[in-house]
């Protein structure tokens, strides 16, 4: 049971990161390797806001969303926009962006070169204080469940629901879906597809930022923390089927649980090894993803 709950919280984080990636990859056909850095920036936003502004972790959620969405917007406008249709090139260029962002944190946004250092940045590890009510644990079916893990799970569900509403119940969502199915037709019908791309990229980055806030509560924050997330999240996206919210949700759940159970049974390394192996098998035998019934 405890293993299951740990698996759920791994899955929740994976889901939040993968959701943003799925929107970006599914809609725009862009592989954003800087997505993990959005998680990192979200986490650093939390570190800075708790240190300097006295924010608690709840207030950091919207703040991190705004910050990372802005970063996403800038990246889309300056680099990604020029690369639509060149899938592998987007992968390389965004890796470059990821390197830049990591290093910017390490050198205090360049201020470190002039001897100015901001508390909370730099290459050191950072920790975020978690409010007392989230540090407790409660009993459920005889198992001891930390409140924080439950909080992460609820947040992931809420974000999933909001994203679903956004995708299927708003004008923007229908435009987004139209663009992802048939870009040119949608543009010919008067949808401003560049604007849709831009907003989708920003929204996806924002989701990763929120995941970053939640991660910062139970993991140490460091400039290179994002890279593992982007790889895992990408595996989740392709395993679940590109452009399918439900597929992403289910595959995040399955992969999170697989990792958690193997990790308890053997160790962390085998947990990840088995995770990769499962995804490779899924890709080999069902390259369009687990939960795609129709092909287009």
């Amino acid at each position: 049971m405890e293993t299951f709950v740990i698996g759920l919280s791994i899955a929740s984080i994976l889901f939040m990161v993968a959701l943003g990636l799925a929107i970006i990859y599914g809609t725009m056909n862009v592989i954003n390797l800087a997505h993990g850095e959005m998680v990192m920036i979200g986490a650093y936003t939390t570190v800075l806001a708790t240190k300097h502004l006295g924010f608690n972790i709840y207030l950091c959620l919207p703040l991190a969303f705004l910050v990372t969405a802005t970063f996403g917007l800038i990246i889309e406008r300056t680099v990604v926009r020029r690369l639509y249709g060149r899938l592998l090139d987007t992968l390389l260029a965004t890796w470059g962006i990821a390197l830049i962002l990591q290093q910017l944190i390490r050198i205090h946004f360049g201020l470190g070169l002039f001897g100015v250092e901001i508390d909370g940045l730099g290459s050191d590890l950072q920790n975020v204080p978690v409010p007392a009510e989230l540090q407790q644990a409660f009993q459920l079916f005889g198992a001891n469940i930390p409140v924080y893990r439950a909080f992460v799970f609820v947040a992931a569900l809420a974000l999933g629901a909001i994203t679903w509403l956004l995708m299927f119940r708003t004008r923007f969502g229908s435009q987004l879906r139209a663009v992802s199915v048939a870009r040119n037709t949608a543009a010919a019908c008067g949808i401003n597809d560049k604007r849709v791309n831009m907003l989708a990229f920003a929204y996806g980055s924002g989701l990763a930022g929120i995941a970053g806030v939640l991660v910062s509560g139970f993991k140490t924050v460091s400039p290179d923390m994002g890279t593992p997330y982007v790889v895992d999240a990408f595996l989740v996206v392709v395993a679940g089927g590109v452009g399918h919210l439900l597929g992403t949700f289910a595959s995040a759940g399955i992969l999170g649980e697989v990792q958690s159970f193997v990790a308890t049974w053997a160790n962390d390394v085998y947990g990840r090894t088995v995770l990769f192996a499962v995804v490779i098998f899924i890709l080999l035998f069902k390259p369009q993803g687990l939960f795609v019934t129709k092909s287009r």
Binding site: L87, D89, L91, L92, L99, I100, L113, L235, F276, I280
Partner: protein, 368 residues
């Protein structure tokens, strides 16, 4: 001057410079440049599979690392202290285990063939090839293409790295193998800081580049380019697309393995970080900077990026900024020079060739 003559001249100049460099470099820089030449060989491997066949492998580091480990295992056993059982295994064994390579730790029997350096050297190429053949067979027969190939190879490299880190008693874990003897062939010792190791690397590089060029200039190269441009059409024309891809993927892995061995030779260690994602992606960037579809370009790209990188890390001001410059380089290369340095070179030669022809035509018109 046509592009063909220009590129032949470029090859000759490059080889001459590479061969002449140890005459002017001190032993530290001889070693550094030898390592950059090793990276160049990696970039050639990338250029073969990505530039020619369009297979972007992000797991090239796996094959590179495998090659490095194979030779490093042999060289570990060549150290007298490590006989009959390497120190790292003694540190990790069960108290009552037999002190023999067969059974001192689980799986240690895998080391037995590596008592012979020759086996280590052959394994450094053959093992990556076999591994690539296995991965490639499953991938290409399932007709996995494009970005899925990149992700699957990336995942395999991550698995390899994790397994090596995790099997500390067998592989030296996170610290890898660092207690190595010098490579000795027929009584001749290769000194990593002297010209001997440098020339071993330089000659390998030249042989690899010439062989690759010879192979890719022929029929295979043409078919691979056809596959890169339009896989389905190449298949309809009757080419066995899967086998061609499998072939070049294995060759590229073998080249990476060879480079890995030379890395062990020149830098005297092998660690799991050789299989890290960042190194695999860096290799792709070297090739992209120099020109993905040009073997020499990829080579020069690797040399330039690494050389500038180490210059930057020498200086206290530039050292923290270098990763940012590197990141910008990725972005700029991808955005503005998709064919890299070689592409710029080609455009320049063709433009000047055109101007020359134009001037000649005008001259003859005036005379008439």
């Amino acid at each position: 001057m046509t592009y063909r003559t220009a590129s032949i001249i470029a090859y000759i100049v490059f080889f001459a410079v590479v061969l002449a460099l140890p005459l002017v470099l001190n032993s530290f820089w001889t070693n550094r440049v030898a390592i950059y030449l090793v990276y160049s060989i990696c970039a050639i491997g990338i250029s073969m599979s990505w530039g020619y066949a369009g297979i972007l492998s992000l797991g090239q580091g796996l094959f590179f690392g495998m090659g490095a480990y194979m030779l490093a295992m042999s060289l570990t056993l060549a150290v007298p202290d490590n006989n009959p059982v390497p120190q790292l295994m003694l540190l990790n064994m069960e108290p009552d285990a037999v002190r023999d390579l067969c059974c001192v730790t689980t799986g240690s029997f895998l080391w037995i063939p590596f008592r012979s350096v020759a086996v280590g050297m052959i394994a450094g190429i053959v093992v990556p090839c076999i591994l690539a053949a296995g991965i490639g067979y499953v991938m290409f027969k399932r007709r996995t293409t494009g970005v899925y190939v990149s992700i699957i190879t990336l995942a395999f490299a991550l698995i390899g790295q994790l397994l090596i880190i995790n099997n500390q008693p067998l592989t030296g874990g996170f610290n890898g193998l660092a207690d190595l003897a010098l490579l000795e062939i027929g009584g001749f010792e290769f000194d990593p800081y002297g010209p001997s190791a440098y020339y071993a690397v330089a000659f390998t590089l030249i042989v690899v580049i010439l062989l690759a060029r010879y192979m890719l200039a022929g029929r295979i190269g043409q078919v691979l380019k056809a596959i890169r441009e339009d896989e389905a059409r190449a298949r309809y024309l009757g080419y066995d697309v899967e086998n061609y891809k499998l072939f070049i993927f294995c060759v590229s892995a073998g080249v990476a393995g060879l480079a890995g061995m030379l890395f062990t030779l020149t830098s005297e260690f092998a660690t799991p970080s050789l299989m890290a994602t960042s190194l695999s992606i860096s290799m792709v960037i070297w090739a992209a900077t120099g020109g993905r579809a040009s073997l020499l370009g990829a080579c020069i790209g690797a040399l330039i990026v690494n050389f500038v990188g180490s210059l930057a890390s020498e200086s206290a001001t530039f050292q923290p900024v270098w990763p940012i410059i590197l990141g910008l380089l990725f972005v700029v290369v991808v955005l503005f020079m998709p064919n890299g340095i070689a592409g710029i070179f080609k455009a320049f030669i063709e433009r000047s060739g055109k101007a020359e022809r134009f001037a000649k035509a005008e001259l003859s018109a005036r005379e008439a």
